[in-house]
Amino acid sequence: MKNKIALGGLSAVAVLLISCAVYTAPTREETLQVVKSSFKERGIAKLDRLNQSDLQVACSEASVTGKDLPQEARTRLERQALATVKYPADGQYLGDFKQGERIAQTGVGMQWSDSDKTVAGGNCYACHEISPQEIAYGNIGPSLKGYRKLRGASPAVMTYTWGKLWNSHAYNACSQMPRYGDANILTNAQLKDLMALLLDPDSPVNK
């Protein structure tokens, strides 16, 4: 009898404990499960786009906690990104700056409203000031006006700029800029046209 009462008392305490359990925030894995069950593929945008790379995980984590990446991780991710860069085999970096301007103005590509035949643009003006005649530019990225005038066009500037376009994380681990070469967003020819927009002395950017 006594035992029964004690047991009853214990289970009541247990129920109370469970129902009053201290709230624990969902883990990253739990959130990921909910996210993955909440999306569906549409057109070219398949579900595998939710599978994050190591860099995406590290940069998301740094962002949600408001802490900078540890120096070691930063260096490692930047080195890995730099290793993905494929420089032009012919050594030619500059294409047609007029084409480059068009690519910088165009924002389509890789959305579910696009097709796999859509020629993607760079949408550079969404975030950057570039040619002085275009005043509808965003400010998420730095101004690129006068790019060559400010930096010159040495081999070091050429390879840096190409690398930045190919995989922006090579020079800033958690850069917000898309990996235009590494993620196959733009072709080599398009990248060269963008290079010319920034680095051709006749480009409006350098006037």
Binding site: P26, F39, R49, G138
Partner: protein
Amino acid sequence: MKAITRAALGVAAFALSCTAAFGQKDTADAIARYRQLLQDGNPAELVAARGEALWKEKRGPKNASLEQCDLGLGAGVVKGAYAQMPRYFADADQVMDFEGRVVHCMVTLQGFDYATVTKSPYSGTGQRQTEIEALAAYGVELSRGVPVNIPQSHPKEQASYDRGKQLFYMRAGPYDFSCATCHGVTGQRIRLQDLPNIAANKEDAQRAFTTWPAYRVSQGTLRSMQWRLNDCFRQQRWPEPVFASPATVDLITFLGVNANGAKMDSPSIKR
């Protein structure tokens, strides 16, 4: 004489250097004036009226109206309910946003099929509003002027906020974008479009939450909060969020809690 010329030149140079800044301010002012002019005669009023008719009409296999729908403040109470959602609903044992809850009522009270109702939740450009959009316009209209008060007392409401925050910062897809790419820093623009900092700027979060749903002039149709998230994810290069799915509710909870205290001012009218 020379000094005067030099002074005049200085003034001219100063004026020139400031033109760009003034230009931006003028643009912002002009857009604000444009919005104010649009506010008179917002077509969203007609959408809300249709939503009210839909709410009160006996429809569906069960030939019932939505007037017994519980939006969190008791069966049939619409006034002020939108400003307090997403919230936890015991009967569904989950956190629901306004749009998801209305669909829940269409299914449970009126007997509609969930998949059919949610197949096309958004209207095409210039097309007739969907029923969900009309009902959202009606619901939010009855919360105009009501302070946002998204509850955080139930553990599932807290979990919704915390997941929403994690998702907000989650970078994924071929462009590596998260919500925070555009909405994590104050004062940022895409082209000339101002971007609210939803995570860390209370005023920005409040303006964003209180002005959706909105009539989009450029699209000739009323857009809901679920649509707003959907079109962000399209541009984020992610797959498509399922209508009223847990992740979308979590994001709306994150935004809503960050906006608590501001007065609802919707349906509004936007560019």
